[in-house]
Symmetry: C2
Subunit: 208 residues, 2 copies
C-alpha cells in the first residue's frame, strides 16, 4: 500500500492526534467545580448556560437557575423550568428564580432595579452556599455588576466561597475584569452576524 493512500495517511495523522489528546486528558488531574463566564455581544450566551442545565439534569444533578433582568416576557426556558423540569426527580420550583423586572429600559427606575437586584442576589447567595447544588446558572448577572446594582466584592466572594464541587455559570456582556479573573473558563461569544439585523423577528424556542 502506498504511503500516499488517503486512508493510511489519515490513520497516521489521527494516531498522532490521539497521542496529543490522551496526553492532554492525562494532564488534567484536578477535580473541582468550575466558574464559566459566557460574555461577548453575540447570540448564544444564555442558551449555552441552559444547555449545561440540560446536561446536568440528564445526570439528575441539582441545578439552580437565577435570571437577572429577564422575566417580563415569557420564555421557553421559563416554561421548561416551571412546567417540565419540575417533573424530574431533583428539580423543585425554588430552584428557579427570575428578577422579573424586565430590562432597565423597560423599568426606567434605578432605585427599583437596585432593590430587585438585591432581592434576586439573595436567592443566588442561598444557592452558592448550598452544597446540594451541583450547578448554578446566574443568567445575565454581568449587567448587575456593570450598572453597579450589586456590590462587586459581595458577588465575587460568594462565588469564590461556594462549595468546592459546585460549578457556576455567569452570562452577559461585559461585567469587568474581576469576574473574568475569577473564572476558570471564559468564552467570548462574538457576533459575526445576527438574523435580527436583517429584520427577522425573534423566534420562540430559539431566541426566547
Amino acid at each position: 500500500m502506498s504511503v500516499q493512500d488517503p486512508d493510511q495517511k489519515h490513520k497516521k495523522k489521527m494516531q498522532k492526534q490521539k497521542e496529543k489528546v490522551d496526553a492532554h486528558i492525562a494532564a488534567a488531574d484536578v477535580e473541582r467545580g468550575v466558574v464559566i463566564l459566557l460574555t461577548g455581544n453575540g447570540k448564544g450566551k444564555s442558551s449555552s448556560g441552559f444547555g449545561m442545565v440540560l446536561r446536568a439534569l440528564g445526570y439528575d444533578q441539582k441545578v439552580g437557575v437565577v435570571q437577572f433582568i429577564k422575566g417580563v416576557q415569557l420564555s421557553g426556558e421559563e416554561i421548561f423550568l416551571k412546567e417540565k423540569a419540575t417533573l424530574l426527580p431533583n428539580f423543585e420550583a425554588s430552584d428557579f428564580y427570575q428578577m422579573g423586572t424586565g430590562f432597565t429600559w423597560d423599568t426606567q427606575d434605578r432605585s427599583g432595579d437596585i432593590k430587585a437586584a438585591e432581592e434576586t442576589w439573595a436567592v443566588a447567595e442561598r444557592m452558592l452556599s448550598d452544597p446540594r447544588y451541583h450547578l448554578v446558572l446566574l443568567d445575565e448577572l454581568t449587567y448587575m455588576l456593570a450598572y453597579k446594582y450589586l456590590d462587586e466584592q459581595r458577588v465575587l466572594d460568594a462565588i469564590k466561597n461556594r462549595p468546592p464541587e459546585q460549578s457556576v455559570i455567569v452570562t452577559g456582556r461585559g461585567g469587568g475584569s474581576a469576574i473574568q479573573e475569577l473564572s476558570d473558563t471564559v468564552s467570548e461569544v462574538k457576533n459575526v452576524k445576527h438574523a435580527y439585523d436583517h429584520h427577522i423577528k425573534a423566534r420562540k424556542g430559539v431566541d426566547y
Copy 2:
C-alpha cells in the same frame, strides 16, 4: 429635582434606550425559521445548541437532534434526550441520533467514518424535510464538512430547502464560508481561557 439626580439621569437615558430598542423590534417584521451557526474555538457551542433545545421543549415544539462525532462517551445531553425528554409530549426516541463513532482520532478509520457520516446525514435529511420539526440541531456538523466526509452542496441544499418555519442550529469549529453565508445568525465563540488548560478535569453536567 436637580438634573444631576442619578435616578432622573438614569430614567432619561433609559427612555432613549427604550426608543431605540422599540424601533429595532418594530423593524423586525420577517417571520421565518433561521439558520444559526455556532463556531469558534471556545467552550459553549454545543451547549448553546442544547439550550435552544431546552427552550423549544418548553414550548412543546418538535425538536430533532443529530450529533456528529460524539457518542462514544456517555453525556448528559444523551441521557437527557433518551430518558427525560421522551417523557415530554412531543419528543420521541427517533428525534435523537448520534453518529456514535467517537472522534476521528479514536476511530482512525477514514472509510468507516465516511460511511457513518453518510448514515447520520440521512437522519438529518429526514428531519430537514419534515415540517413537523420546528428546530433541528446538527451538533458538530462542521467537522464533517471540514474533513470532506459529506458533500458540501448536498448539506447546503438540504438546509436551504427545509420547511420555512423550521430553524436549524449548526455547531462546530470551522466548516467553511458557504455554511457561514447560508446562516442568518453566526456567533464565533472565542476561547479566552479554559479550565482544561489549567489541568482541571472535564466535569459531568458542564463539559459533557
